[in-house]
Amino acid sequence: MRIDLAPMTPSRRLRAILPGLLALLPALASAQDAKPVLDTGDTAWMLASTVLVIMMAVPGLALFYGGQVRSKNVLSTSIQVFVVFSLLTVLWVVYGYSLAFTGEGRFIGGFDALLVSNISPDAVSGTIPELLFVAFQATFAAITTALAVGGFAERTKFSAVLIFAVIWFTCSYLVIARAVWGGGWIADLGAIDYAGGTVVHINAGIAGLVGALIVGKRLGYGTTAIQPHNLPYVLTGASLLWVGWFGFNVGSGLGAGVSSGLVLLNTYVCTAAAVIAWVFAEWIFKGKPTVLGAASGAIAGLVAITPSCGSVGVAGAIVLGLIAGVICLWAVASLKKALGYDDSLDVFGVHAVGGIVGALGVAILGAPSFGGVAEIDNIGRQFGVQAISVLFTIVWSTLITVIAFAVAKFTVGLRPGDDTEREGLDLAEHGERAYD
C-alpha cells in the first residue's frame, strides 16, 4: 500500500542535517538499506518533540505576539496565530505533506499521499512511526505561517490573513521545504540547515516584512504610543518558545541519538548568550535593560542557532548568540527606523535577520577550525552555498507574499477601515473584548 519513496522521507530530511554532523551518525548509511526498525527511545523523543513544537505555537507564540500588541488587538492577534496554526495543520495532512515530501518532482512533489492515505499506520520510517514524522513536519509548516502574521498585526482583516496563509503556505512554504528537505535541490548544493533557518525563519520573516509594506502602517504609527499591553505575557510567550524550541531543534535530528546532546546544549546556551547580549547592549546604548529586550534576545538566539545547532561547537554557539543578540537589536531599533517600515512584531528584524546571521554564521563557526563539527573544507565556498539558499528564500518568499496579498486585496480587502482599526480589531472583527 505504501509507495517506495515514503520510508526514505526522514532520511531526506536528514540530508539537510548530515553535512553538519561529522561522524555522529555512523549507522545511518547502512540503516537505509535494511528494513526500518522502530526504536522506542527515538520515538519517545519525537513524540515529545512534536508536542513541544505545538506548545511553541499555542500558547507560546500566541502569548508572545498577543502581549506585544495593544489591548484592543490582543484577541485578533492571538486568534490569527491559533486559527492559522490549526488550518495549516489540516492542510498539511490534506496535501502539504504529499507535495513537500513525496513524489519525484524536483521543485514540488506529487499527489500520491493526499490525506496521507498511502501511509500504513504501522509504517516505520527511520526509527520512528512514519505518521509521527508527518505530524512533526506538520508543526513546522503550521508555525512558520503563524510567525509571518506578526508582521502585519493590528491592522489586517482576519479573512485577508487566512487567504494569505493558505496561498503562502502552498506556494512558498511547500516549495522551499521541498527544496531543502523534500526533493532537495538546495540540500544537494550542500547547504547546512539543521532545523529550518531558511525554510522557517527567513521565509516567515520576509513574508512578514513584505506583508507589512503592502498592508501599510498602522494608524498613528510613529506619532502615537504603540506599546506592548502586557509584558508578562511577552516574557511568558518567549519562555515557552524557548522551551518548545528544543523540540524544534533537537527533534530535527529525528531521534535521541548522541548528537542530541550537542544540539540541545547549543540551543540552550546560544539563546542564553543572546539574552545577555541584547540586554547589556540596550543597557549600554539606550540606558536601560528591558523585559521586551530580554524576550526578543531569546528569540533572536533561538532563530540564529536553528540552522547551525548541529554544526557549531558549544563555544561557537555562545559567540553566535552574542552576535545575533546585538545584530537583531540593531535591526529592530536602528535599521527599522532608517527604513521606516511598520513590521508590528519585528518578524523581519528577529526572524529574517536572525535567520540570516545563523545561516551565514554556520559557514564559519561550523568549520572545524572554528571549533565546529561540520564537514566544511572551504569556508568561502560554504558561505556561498549558504548565501544562495538565503537569497533564493528571500526572493521566492517576497514573490509569493506579493501575490498572496494581491489576491486578498481584490477579494476581501486588506484593512478593516480606519474607525474599526482605531476601535480595535477585537471588538470589530471578533465581537469580543479580551478583558472584562
Binding site: 504609527y221 510613529g222 506619532t223 502615537t224 504610543a225 504603540i226 506599546q227 539606550k286 521586551l292 529592530v332 531599533a333 536602528s334 535599521l335 527599522k336 527606523k337 519585528d346 528584524g349
Partner: protein, 110 residues
Amino acid sequence: MITAVIRPYKLDDLELAVARLGVQGMTVSEVHGYGHQHGHTEHYRGTEYRVEFTPKTWVTIAVDEEIVEPVIEAIANVARTGKVGDGRIYVSEIKQAIRIRTGETGTAAT
C-alpha cells in the same frame, strides 16, 4: 469637595496626613494625566513617540467647610516633590451629601 491629582505613590502619605485633620473617608481612582510633563519622548524599537500621559491617582474627599483650607495645605505638603508632575488640587461646591447607610445628610455625610 476636594479633588486632587497626585503621584500614585504619595497616596499612603496623603491618607495619613488628612486623617490627622479629621478626614474620615475618601474615594480614589487610577487616572492618567499630562500637564507640564507633556512632551516627553520615548523610543520603542525604532519608533519614537511622545508619551503624553503618566499614571496619577485621583483623590476625592468630601470635607466640612471649616477644614477645607488645612486639608488642601496638608495635601499640597505631602504631595509636593518639587519635580514637574506633582499634580493639582481643585475645590468645588457640593449642594447635598447623603450617607446611604444611614440616610444622614450634611456634615455627617462628608
